[in-house]
């Protein structure tokens, strides 16, 4: 089975994310055994950020790495597992609020992002695809 990085590399919707992970020097970390849960923003999510945001971050790898680590959680958390959770601790250190079927509906949201594809299995974790880059605070 492919690992998290290999899955991202194989999907053109993640080209911005892949470039960011490479710029932040996090490829090796995300290829390690983990397991990790990654909330992976699609290209459109990065494009929604105001102009210049991504460029400044790419020019400053440690700062970019911090934002990317906010999208990663230790452990393999499936959508079903997250029903019982209200927040997870990100590798960045700040908590990520999660809202999964909270009112018996079909919503699956991570902070202010909506999960558009859940439970993509990888050899070293699981990926949930999100429509918005999430930020700490």
């Amino acid at each position: 089975m492919a690992n998290i990085v290999e899955i991202a590399l194989g999907n053109k919707d993640f080209s911005t994310l892949v470039a960011a992970v490479q710029a932040a020097d996090l490829v090796e970390a995300l290829q390690s055994p983990g397991p990790f849960t990654v909330f992976a923003p699609v290209n459109d999510a990065f494009a929604k950020l105001p102009p210049g945001t991504v460029q400044t971050l790419v020019e400053n790898p440690p700062q970019l790495a911090r934002i990317l680590k906010f999208h990663v959680v230790a452990g393999r958390w499936t959508q079903a597992d997250l029903k019982a959770q209200t927040q997870l601790d990100s590798l960045e250190g700040s908590p990520i609020p999660v809202r999964c079927h909270a009112d018996g509906g079909d919503d699956f949201e991570v902070k202010n992002a909506t999960v558009v594809a859940a439970d993509i299995e990888a050899s070293n974790g699981i990926i949930h695809v999100i429509d918005t880059v999430i930020l700490m605070g």
Partner: protein
């Protein structure tokens, strides 16, 4: 004034400041949109940017060069290198180039340093003694406030308390006092005193790096207004929102240059960012909290006139009564005086036309500044809404409700009787 449109899917807000909530939901500012308000805030941004161009340069000069000088009598006599130091966000090499102007010290600032208030070229020491200079004490008061309200910057402060930081500071302290047995002896006896001073210098660097961004932002806004390209208050706010995002990831660091060698006290690799470790703590510490200014009013702490909890401090510009605050020598007045030297003609004419003319110009500058800072705070609120909540035109009613809850929570802070949000809605507030 354009009428804000209500979101069709939410009932009207019942908040005490419902009109302002609806205006924020329509992409507006806490400050009403009018040509008069726009003129005031842009004029004062320009007048603020010139001294700010000195503040950031001198803050970094002190943090990086003056460092632990035990008698820093000349810390406000900034070196030529720091006046020439390229602003990272202006000039040809600016990335991003926020201001289309040059990257070294602003020409009006250079002229003021040369001529002072006297309007004559004299040695800097003479201007200094006659107080024809930029009031760096204001910048230092802001730094002190950020340093003192330590709960608002937990990650940065945790690093200042870390072993890594202590080791970096120790290396720099020993290098700075190499060959000075008296100071090294004092350091051995009272290491915490020296470390505390270095922590404070790290806040000099933090604030300097914060203002290095804001000065070109304000210069560019002023130029756009003069060119007729910034025509409404929401446009001015949006420019600030975009500026906040464009530089959000700028590293916040502290380096010191000792005998030609660079010592990294807070390395860029720690990942501290302009938005989280400088801008947001600055807004909370300066716009909202600060501390009561000496000489403006007597507070009886035993009668609970001073809040027990620092988070309840609300003495910032958003709450200030500009009349008592307009006393000589206190930080806000120092800023008003600095700005008074660089007012655009259209603001001077406006002040002259008001009832007391130039007799109460510091007060009038203060009120204009208050209006402009409500607009900056609006930009911060909208930027946080963009980062943490949802688009204003989100079709999901639950998301719109989350936006409303966020706006109402922010505006709740202005329910306090001393808040000036009500006042800035009126043109008669002078």
């Amino acid at each position: 004034m354009p009428t804000p449109t209500l979101s069709p899917t939410l009932p009207p807000s019942t908040h005490e400041f419902a009109d302002i909530i609806h205006r924020l939901e329509a992409g507006g500012s806490m400050l009403p949109d009018s040509p008069e308000n726009l003129k005031q805030i842009i004029g004062i941004y320009k007048a603020y940017a010139v001294p700010m161009d000195f503040y950031w340069r001198d803050l970094l000069y002190i943090a990086e060069r003056v460092f632990l000088n035990p008698l820093p009598a000349f810390k406000y006599f900034i070196s030529k290198d720091y006046l020439d130091r390229p602003n990272a966000y202006a000039g040809e090499a600016g990335s991003p180039r926020v201001w289309r102007g040059e990257d070294d010290a602003h020409p009006e600032l250079r002229e003021f340093i040369a001529q002072g208030e006297a309007g004559r070229k004299l040695p800097r020491i003479m201007h200094h003694l006659w107080h024809g200079r930029i009031n760096m004490e204001f910048a230092e008061a802001c730094m002190q406030s950020m340093y003192w309200h330590e709960d608002i910057n937990p990650r940065f402060n945790a690093y200042l308390d870390s072993d890594d930081y202590k080791a970096n500071a120790d290396k720099a302290i020993r290098a700075y006092f190499k060959g000075n047995p008296a100071m090294l002896g004092l350091y051995k006896l009272f290491p915490e005193v020296f470390l505390e001073k270095v922590k404070q210098l790290s806040y000099y660097s933090n604030l300097g790096l914060f203002w290095e961004v804001m000065a070109p932002v304000f210069f560019e806004m002023s130029d756009l207004y003069d060119e007729g390209k910034l025509t409404t208050v929401p446009e001015a706010m949006d420019f600030l929102v975009n500026g906040i995002f464009a530089v959000a990831g700028r590293p916040i660091y502290h380096q010191v240059f000792i005998k030609g060698e660079c010592y990294e006290i807070i390395p860029k690799s720690e990942g501290f960012t302009w938005l989280y470790e400088a801008a947001l703590p600055y807004v909370e510490a300066i716009f909202y909290r600060t501390a009561p200014f000496r000489g403006t009013k007597s507070y009886n702490a035993q009668a609970n006139e001073v809040p027990r909890d620092q988070a309840d401090f609300h003495y910032g510009i958003l709450y200030a009564d500009l009349f008592p605050v307009g006393s000589a020598g206190i930080p806000p007045t120092l800023l008003m005086q600095d700005m008074m030297h660089f007012l655009p003609d259209y603001l001077v004419e406006m002040y002259q036309a008001n009832s007391r003319g130039e007799d109460d110009i510091l007060n009038q500058v203060g009120v204009t500044f208050q209006r402009s800072m409500y607009n900056v705070t609006s930009a911060v609120i909208q930027a946080l809404r963009t980062a943490l909540c949802y688009p204003l035109d989100d079709p999901n009613p639950r998301h719109l409700q989350a936006n409303r809850d966020f706006f109402e929570m922010q505006i709740d802070r202005f329910k306090r009787p001393e808040a000036r949000l009500r006042d800035i809605q009126k043109t008669s507030y002078l």
